[in-house]
């Protein structure tokens, strides 16, 4: 069981780290947080209607990603942020409400831990295969559309002016985020899953300035955080999601302090020169 969890943590951490990099470069971080919480609301609903947590989360995340993806092509980035934050709060409220409405039987099962703090036990071989499949499809998508995606990353407006369907690529990216989150949720829990999306790319941006390096470093940090979090949680019997979040936040803090020290040294050297 632990081996399955190790592979799942590496896949989840790597995939979420990579998706987080693209979410950040596509300027859809807030929107991706809302998608993560849509998955949480879906997972929580599963507690009440007694269905599979992952598939319920997947449905919510996909429908919300698709809906918001389409709406966001017709509104300004400011309006998109505003609406995303509104949904972010709404989905949290739905999640709490659903947990409140759950029967005492459900509250004593592993399902509740999946929604709240994640569980090593919740990762089955079939879910792991699906997660590996999603990772492979995303890598294939990146490989096929690399020139177009690179063009968007370099200059979004210019890419749009040159006939690249920026809106469609944004919707596809949101869908991948929704799917990845629905599967990762079993490991980290719904409330903390977005830390694996944001913290690795934020850390990578502190440590290296070149986009190409950030692209490699973000999934690497994601994998490291997920693996270390899982290991500590196993040894110390801590909740796995919270442990992964603590590790990834610690990496972010260390990266930030390192960047601050480097910047101070560079400023000092510039003054001397």
């Amino acid at each position: 069981m632990f081996e399955v969890a190790v592979i799942a943590s590496l896949l989840s951490g790597g995939l979420c780290g990579l998706l987080g990099y693209y979410a950040q470069r596509f300027n859809i971080v807030t929107l991706s947080f809302s998608v993560a919480h849509a998955a949480l609301a879906g997972a929580s609903l599963a507690l009440v209607i007694k269905s599979d947590v992952t598939y319920s989360a997947l449905m919510f995340a996909i429908f919300f990603a698709l809906g918001m993806g389409i709406i966001s092509t017709r509104i300004s980035p400011y309006e998109r942020e505003l609406i995303s934050m509104g949904f972010f709060s709404l989905f949290n409220a739905i999640a709490i409400f659903m947990v409140y409405m759950s029967t005492s039987y459900v509250l004593s099962t592993v399902s509740i831990s999946v929604v709240l703090w994640g569980s090593i036990l919740a990762i089955t071989k079939s879910k792991l295969i699906l997660l590996a499949g999603i990772t492979a499809i995303f890598m294939l998508y990146l490989f096929i559309f690399k020139p177009q995606i690179d063009s968007i990353l370099f200059d979004r407006k210019l890419a749009e002016a040159e006939g690249i369907d920026v809106d469609l690529h944004t919707i596809v990216l949101l869908l991948f985020i929704g799917i990845a989150i629905a599967f990762t949720l079993r490991l980290t829990g719904g409330f903390l899953v977005f830390t694996l999306l944001y913290n690795p790319v934020a850390s990578a941006m502190q440590l290296v300035r070149k986009a190409q390096w950030q692209q490699v470093l973000a999934p690497t940090i994601g994998m490291l955080a997920a693996l270390l979090g899982l290991t500590f949680s196993y040894i110390l019997d801590w909740p796995v999601g919270a442990t992964i979040a603590i590790i990834s936040s610690t990496i972010l803090m260390v990266a930030y302090i390192t960047r601050t020290i480097i910047n101070m040294k560079l400023s000092r050297a510039a003054r001397r020169a």
Binding site: P147, Q148, D150, G163, I164
Partner: protein, 233 residues
Amino acid sequence: MGVIQGEAIRLSDVWVAYSGSGRPAIKEINLKVDYNSLILITGPNGAGKTTLIETCLGLLKPIRGEAFLLGINTKSRKVIKARRECSYVPQDFMKPSYESYTVRHVIKLGLAINACLFGLSELKVKKRILNIARMLQIEDLLDRPIGTLSGGQQQKVYIARALVREPKVLFLDEPFSSIDEESRHVIAKVVHEYVHRKEACALVVSHDVDPIIDFSDIIIHMDNGKITSIEVN
């Protein structure tokens, strides 16, 4: 390439306003642009020049009237396909010093839409990039990261990226703002030759009319969001 029939751009009583703004940025615009022409759009700051070319490209949608790019209404999603036949050099082009894409890669990104499956061969792409770089005298910059170049050099790279696509319509927004006098002449000549050799058209927004005015077929003056005059050169 044979002579292309029809008009490249048509705007009929077009009004455009930015979201949240009470007044239109451009109004009462009627314009027809044919192939085989180089058009200079000039006027003071805030005249609506950039808004006009972004409307032609369909990046901004009219609140009144209709705009057509290569015969396609810019309000339609099909305008994405029309844009594949166009190139754009934006006004705000400068990349930060840590931007590590090489000049060669940036120019190649202009061909990104052709890069899938049955696109151009790698050899053809290399040849095209080298030819354009030679024409614009940036051959020696090809392997340098774009962030390390000066404003003028970066601007030339964007013009190279625009030309490598061999567009039917070329939109250049203040393409000479950071470029020295000698290079301006070279670029104006290259654009002029391209337009007439390929039976394409170019819309060039420029404050500074020298030397592009000598190569322009039509000069459009704008002020306060309106076209105030159209001169045939």
